[in-house]
């Protein structure tokens, strides 16, 4: 149910112009994670997000040529961040 709420907010923002795919994330409540992925040109991208009080978050508007399963996210305290090649 909470995952739906997170997605609904993303959908509200995407109402005016369609967004690309959503990649839902689950973790500990109110915790910051570092995510990383490589795009189709091989360029590494790093970002961060914080989960809600239910431990849910969504990385949205992800380009269709990037597989959600290849986006790696690690909790801040895990200093070793693993990156995946798409």
């Amino acid at each position: 149910m909470k995952e739906l709420r997170v997605c609904l907010l993303a959908f509200t923002v995407c109402l005016a112009a369609a967004c690309d795919q959503d990649c839902p994330q689950t973790g500990s409540p109110n915790t910051t994670y570092v995510y990383s992925y490589f795009d189709s040109s091989g360029t590494a991208h790093i970002g961060s997000f914080t989960t809600d009080d239910g431990g849910n978050a969504t990385i949205t508007d992800v380009p269709d040529d990037i597989d959600c399963s290849k986006i790696t996210s690690r909790e801040d305290k895990d200093v070793a961040v693993v990156q995946s090649q798409v």
Binding site: K2, R5, V6, L8, L9, A10, F11, T12, V13, C14, L15, A16, A17, C19, C23, Q25, S28, P29, N30, T32, V34, Y35, S36, Y37, D39, T43, A44, H45, I46, G47, S48, F49, T50, T51, D52, D53, G54, G55, N56, A57, T58, I59, T60, D61, V62, P63, I71, R74, D76, K77, D78, V79, A80, V81, Q83
Partner: protein, 335 residues
Amino acid sequence: MTHDGKRRAFLSRCIRYAAAAAAVACAVLLTAGALRTSALKGDGRAEARRQFQARVRDGVGRGVALAPRGSSQGEVRAAVNSVASFIERRSGVGLSGRTKGRLAELEARVSSGAARGLTLDELSEAVTAMALERLSSLSDRDVAYADETLRGFDAPGMPGHYNRDFALPGGVVFAGAPREKTVARLLAARDQSRSGPAGDVLKGMLRTVIRARVKDKARYLGESVPEMFGNTWDALGGRERDPSGGGGVTPLQAVLITYSLASDDYLSDGDGALAQRMQTRQKALTRAAGEEYPSPAGRRPFGVNGYLFSSPLDLVLDEQTVNRLLDRVEERSAA
């Protein structure tokens, strides 16, 4: 039946029994494994919840002193000051003396029983109306500023591989979305908020999101710090308190919850824990990027250019917008 026939029948029975026993054993093991996995997951979730509640107690529980029902004017004023100081310390956004005075008056009326607290739906309606009104009044320049701010912390020397991705409170991040795309979306949302039918659709969706978020906040605050938020949420019964029975959200709690919604500050973690979170984050991002991520020294965790979550809080909690929220709170609490 011959001796060989009896032997074959006996062996066949043995094989069938063995197969049945193996099947039962497998089923038992699989069921036990599934139950154990489920129990472990449940234990893990419960433990994560307990840890989160402890963090909330360390944050708002220790950083704010709300005045219980029946408090004196002086105690109410001290409570307002403690909330204003808490918000300013974490986000840099302050409430003016005039706003604090009005907030103290409204809080004192609820505290004395002259006015009632709000239901969670009433608070959600007030916050939704405030958000839409503020959105519709944004200039193009404000929208560009909001987009820039929602792209997260920025400072000289950001690592080259780090994406300042557009993010919204509540765990929504738009990975790799270019600036022109997110600005166009914000402009479209602003224009929709100004028009009739499209504005109604936007309002309906926003109300649904805000209502769910307000309820979540009331629930975890009531569970984590019942001595401060037990009037809004009955943790044992798992439901909100009825304002007609002395419960309901007070005006000061309404401001605190609105701040939390807009800033993505879950009101968890005290000053020390927040400083630790910022340092840990710097280390993690430095390792991930392979370059030094800017230091959190002298930075605030929330608000404009917040190190943990950056938001245009100065646009949301400006004098006029906070007072429009208080207008609505006053109107409903008098009903």
